[in-house]
Symmetry: C2
Subunit: 251 residues, 2 copies
Amino acid sequence: MENHGPPASPLDRGHPHVACSSCSLRELCLPAGIDPREMERIDDLVNHRRKLKRGEHLYRAGASLASLYAIRSGTMKSCVLHEDGREQVAGFHMMGDLLGMDAIGGGRHMCDIVALEDCEVCEIPFSCLEQLSRELPPLQRQLHRIMSREIVRDYGVMLLLGSMKAEERLAAFLLNLSQRFATRGYSASEFNLRMTREEIGSYLGLKLETISRVLSRFQQDGLIEVHHKQLRIADAKRLRAILGQASTGDA
Amino acid sequence: MENHGPPASPLDRGHPHVACSSCSLRELCLPAGIDPREMERIDDLVNHRRKLKRGEHLYRAGASLASLYAIRSGTMKSCVLHEDGREQVAGFHMMGDLLGMDAIGGGRHMCDIVALEDCEVCEIPFSCLEQLSRELPPLQRQLHRIMSREIVRDYGVMLLLGSMKAEERLAAFLLNLSQRFATRGYSASEFNLRMTREEIGSYLGLKLETISRVLSRFQQDGLIEVHHKQLRIADAKRLRAILGQASTGDA
DNA sequence: GGATGGCTTTGATGTAGGTCAAAGGGAGGC
DNA sequence: GCCTCCCTTTGACCTACATCAAAGCCATCC
């Protein structure tokens, strides 16, 4: 039962001050590296926010490209759909991440984005962004950087899916989450899993039972502590060693 | 034993006329959609070509970003490397494809690119490209489109690796190759596999023996004919049906 | 407060694809 | 022309993960 809530006006123009210049995420997000004096031009670009309840879609595959979205708060997942109904989680996204770049190529979105909890996103009309990035080289750079990083991230996932076994995949996943929380100023060792075991499994190319079993094993081995969605990394070094697979030594 | 050939001068400035404007690939490649009158500015951008022999690297992971490369002829593979030596093929690339975008994010390449046969590429200094794309909106658009398509392509691979079984993966692979040859004006039904079974396997997250077995099975079932690297798609419809998995009917 | 329904855990069993092994074919080098 | 080396094919066996099944937990709804 997804918490669709009232379909209500998804566009919330009620914030008079949607300002990148005062946003704590600005160094992670699109405005990174922008001269403070130019910042107000970015503020104009991002003219409103949008709130989503858990389970709501930000957009669906097939929708035509209007805007990119920067996540201000909350966690989302992207899902690609196989024609025969199978779907796979392609990524988990959190504050500061930029979404929607899948649509630039063909003008239509190629995946669904779903809120895993209540979220807030900043909407960035794409044509304005293209325009402005012609005028502000640092903005252009940052956009390119973000798209490039997305490509590289995907390479990492391909490596994971193509050549790692279950334990390695899960270790890589947990360490990646940990690192992303750290980058955002949260604890690297203690956090909440916003997604279900099934979603993790889908992302990692495994079944939910396998996720559950491997988490239990990790816990027995003292690598982590899990209590439903609450997770603590108890021994990051050994967790990393599962990945390195060679050295149990200092990573 | 890779055919490294003489390390020789990799930069071949000997072509006086490296002109996008007269290149048969221009509509697939970076200049797509450029006004003919602006084309000479692109010609200036792409100021030289480079030839590679089979087995040579175009660049290696860690190399700093200097240029993007457009493939003029030949086939290449990209490989991502796991720290512990395992490597995985992340993609196969052919004429018209643009390489190197993995380095934009961090300034360093994140994968190796290796020629699977003798190749020729056009070198595009990245900072010039960024500069010029500020002045020519259609160039900017095309660059964004290409990067976006790369992201979407990766989603497809994730889906393949994460939720398809061996036969589906191989069918998807062959159909994808077929389609790419067709786009480039070659036969969609008959072509050469430039890569080994092992490389296909690496790309698809399978072992070479599995690739071999599945190809044999496909052949027995009359879906394809393979004779070493020569491949003919004998029944594209049924091959597509393996993917759709539901309807054996008209895809 | 009890009921309902998702999510998770754990066990028993099955299987796709991996691993190991051996032999056959082509292409390039001498 | 012959040799060598890689690539490929095919078979026999094994293992990691999927599948099926059942029971427990937590949150939410009534």
